[in-house]
Amino acid sequence: MPTEPAELVVISGKGGTGKTSIVASFAALADNMVLADCDVDAADLHLVMDPKVVRRENFSGGKRARIMSGHCTACGKCEEVCRFDAVFFDGPGNGRVDKTFRVDPVACEGCGVCAWFCDYDAIEFASVVNGQWFVSQTRHGPMVHAKLGVAEENSGKLVSTVRKAAGAIAAERNMELVLIDGSPGIGCPVIASITGADAVLIVTEPTLSGLHDLGRVADVVAHFGIEPMVCVNKWDLNPEIAAEIERQAHQRGLKVTGRVRYDRAVTDAQVRRQSVVEYQDGGCAADIREVWSIVRDVVSE
């Protein structure tokens, strides 16, 4: 009987700790896996996966208001009810008034209140396409990824869309694992990537910033009922802090999955559009292989 695929999400709290580089290597080492790039507003995994897009879908995160200046009577009701400073009195004149009101699409929160209360039906409130998502083939298996439009909102919803699509492909093709590259921070895109996941790995770095941020992101993961694993990347930049991070992780009851050393080969591999385990066997690649064997065992429990 086919079992449901397990979801492993890799996050970091602090940006730049090496999530994407490590996920790329995990993708090369894992069998039977679907990749999901859930870092939708700064996606990079595709740069080393060479995806061939087989399906492309528009994403609509919400609606936006647009004042049809021809109908506007400049009564100002929209500006009065807008709580997001998105309405400006600088639209073009029409036959009746010299100036009309205008909605700034960047500031518009898509709440629809202006459109609801406009007495003149002058405000169009419609769904907007604010991103795209893709299903692709890579040398390591299928990959779902996305691009959120610049200055757009609702990345959490796009993250959920990508995750759901990856899960569906994995279930369809009887694959064991959905491997998710998450985003930095602790807000809605991160929450959307971890809720209901089977396993979470936090990749951190041996710095006071990394230690501080690990505390917060581990709190968020715990808040959603999951016990994350922790891995210190670039550990040799500060062995004392690396050890302190691992000590605090143990104290919290979190599994430490090993450490990865700092290695310029990660960048050399990236420039060649490869993951570091495909580029070399030694150095940090050996460390990542060991981390993967521990993580994989935890996920398949």
């Binding site: 940006g15 610049v150 757009e152 501080h212 941020d213």
Partner: protein, 292 residues
Amino acid sequence: MKIAVASGKGGTGKTTVATNLALTAAAAGSSVSYLDCDVEEPNGAVFLKPEITETRPVEVSIPEVDQDKCSSCGLCGQICQYGAIVPVEGQVLVFGELCHGCGGCWLVCPTGAITESCRETGRVELGTSGEVHCVQGLLNIGEAMSPPVISAVKDAARETDLLIMDSPPGTSCPVIESIRDSDFVLLVTEPTPFGLNDLKLAVEMVRALKLPFGVVINRSDVGDGETVAYCRQNHIDVSASLPDDRRVAEAYSRGEPACKAMPEYHKLYEDLLQRIARGDKQRRDGSREQSS
């Protein structure tokens, strides 16, 4: 002058640049504020170690429903775009974490059953680090939306000559909120394929907001030459290039600002401040000429 420090890719050196700029400006006698707008994972305090003098809660609006006054008309559920207020059998449920505070439901309610209430989403901390005024925000654990806390950080700032806004990574709504009313944006990048990919997204973002900007290339001797070529081809000013210096990385790991650990870095940051000030003056003179 308000300078925002943003990036696109995480970990390129925003906090490094922002804190060192603030310290350098203060050392030169400017009145300066450092605002940590990365309210999800603020790190400025690791380097500036401010003495906190005040903490304020950040509250956001949510609806409060008096079920006795509710006429079950369902309009609140209809107007809400976020699923934050949901009329069900005999009562109205409120999901505060989904609420964007638009006010639609209490405006539309015909019986006055819905009033505006509030809940805490984070906090703002004010303090000083030597001569630098510091404001940092912290989003509460489990909260999804950072813009209200970011906005509170900016509102709490003093009116100093120079304000430096340390932004979160990325290109979506938290960054937009952090940078949108700045006078100049510094985009910090690293010259790697990931760095360049995200820099291009960040450039699109600042252009969409019509903000003047420059690029700081951090760890400039790693990776490849594509980032420099991209800036040249697109007439983008490289405001500074910082070398890949392991001493900086090690000082950073210990929470020590580069210009304190290695005084020769003071000059780099002084030059950067002067370059930004010159650019700002040129833009002001240019627009004065245009309007006269």
